[in-house]
């Protein structure tokens, strides 16, 4: 069907929307054909304003730059919803945010995981890597492959070091150095004052020790049920450069 015919069909549907029984079956057949061909000129939706809101956020948020490199596809939606929820919390709209978070949690565990990774800034490792690969001039397939592998590691908990599991700063240094050498980044997470001290020591080591001059560290604190949690993200400077301030709308 040509664009002109499609426009006529859409016009007919809109004009008769409040008298839907008047729309001939033949027209519905054409609409279905348009849908099946992927023509995105028309949609039927229960809450149009809410839907338009998500379209607007997707086009104006930083996610617009990164989404095409993130797989599997369903993660993109979870990430967009995480961005919306985090902003609601930042704006003090806790009740709405909690409700939406509950919906995300009920969707599936990975949706909740995406929210946790984004709200603790751990997702920045993925964004920073994408930025670096774009700068290097890599093609879309390469960028998608590498960033999806990093995201998969984060989702499946293969690249986060839980500080509470290590008895001392000295013990903790080994896996940190090993991961920095292998992956170019390291994420640590811990709770309680003893573990926070270990994280602070690691942070000081990265900042002060010449051995780590090519790395940059950022930390994040949040509370769950009154208990403080800390995360520390260490990442190679050439990966991290230019990311700050771009990934929190």
């Amino acid at each position: 069907m040509t664009d002109e015919i499609n426009l006529e069909i859409i016009k007919l549907i809109i004009q008769n929307w409040n008298a839907i029984k008047n729309i001939p079956r033949e027209t519905w057949g054409k609409i279905r054909k348009m849908f099946q061909q992927g023509n995105k000129s028309l949609g039927f939706i229960r809450r149009p304003q809410a839907f338009l809101f998500y379209i607007d956020v997707s086009h104006t948020s930083f996610i617009n730059k990164y989404a095409k490199y993130i797989l599997p596809t369903e993660y993109k939606g979870y990430l967009l919803e995480s961005i919306v929820i985090r902003k609601l919390y930042q704006d003090g709209k806790k009740e709405t945010a909690d409700k939406k978070r509950g919906e995300l949690l009920r969707t599936n565990p990975r949706a909740n995981r995406i929210f946790n990774l984004y709200s603790t800034d751990m997702f920045n490792v993925v964004f920073a890597t994408i930025d670096k690969l774009i700068t290097e001039g890599r093609n879309k397939e390469e960028i998608t492959g590498i960033s999806s592998q990093i995201l998969d590691d984060l989702i499946n908990d293969k690249s986060i070091i839980y500080v509470n599991n290590w008895r001392s700063f000295e013990e903790l240094c080994y896996p940190v150095k090993k991961q920095l050498g292998a992956k170019g980044y390291c994420i640590m997470y811990g709770s309680g004052s003893d573990n926070v001290k270990k994280i602070k020591k690691i942070y000081s080591m990265i900042v002060d020790d010449a051995e780590f001059q090519n790395f940059q560290a950022s930390h994040h604190k949040h509370e769950v049920a009154g208990i403080p949690y800390f995360s520390l993200i260490i990442i190679k400077r050439d990966i991290m450069r230019g990311l700050e301030g771009k990934t929190s709308d």
Partner: protein, 81 residues
């Protein structure tokens, strides 16, 4: 994208014209196969009251939830070039 609102007064005709019906348990099913229609993004079986949208990209049925809205927008309406 022109958006037309699904309401209680037009949903039955919409379902009918898209080849769907409501089974005895209240679920939306395909008329031909009798299979439950699931939300692409939440994987939930849809009922008349939980249907949130019928959208292009083939014929995509989604739940009336923000997660489903976000999922569709990111898959089909964001910058995926």
């Amino acid at each position: 994208m022109e958006l037309l609102e699904i309401t209680d007064s037009n949903i039955d005709i919409l379902l009918e014209e898209f080849g769907k019906e409501i089974d005895e348990s209240g679920f939306i099913v395909d008329k031909a196969t009798k299979e439950h229609v699931k939300c692409r993004y939440t994987n939930k079986d849809l009922k008349r009251d939980t249907l949130g949208g019928i959208l292009p990209g083939s014929e995509i049925f989604i739940e009336n939830s923000d997660v489903a809205f976000a999922g569709y927008v990111m898959e089909f309406l964001s910058n995926n070039d």
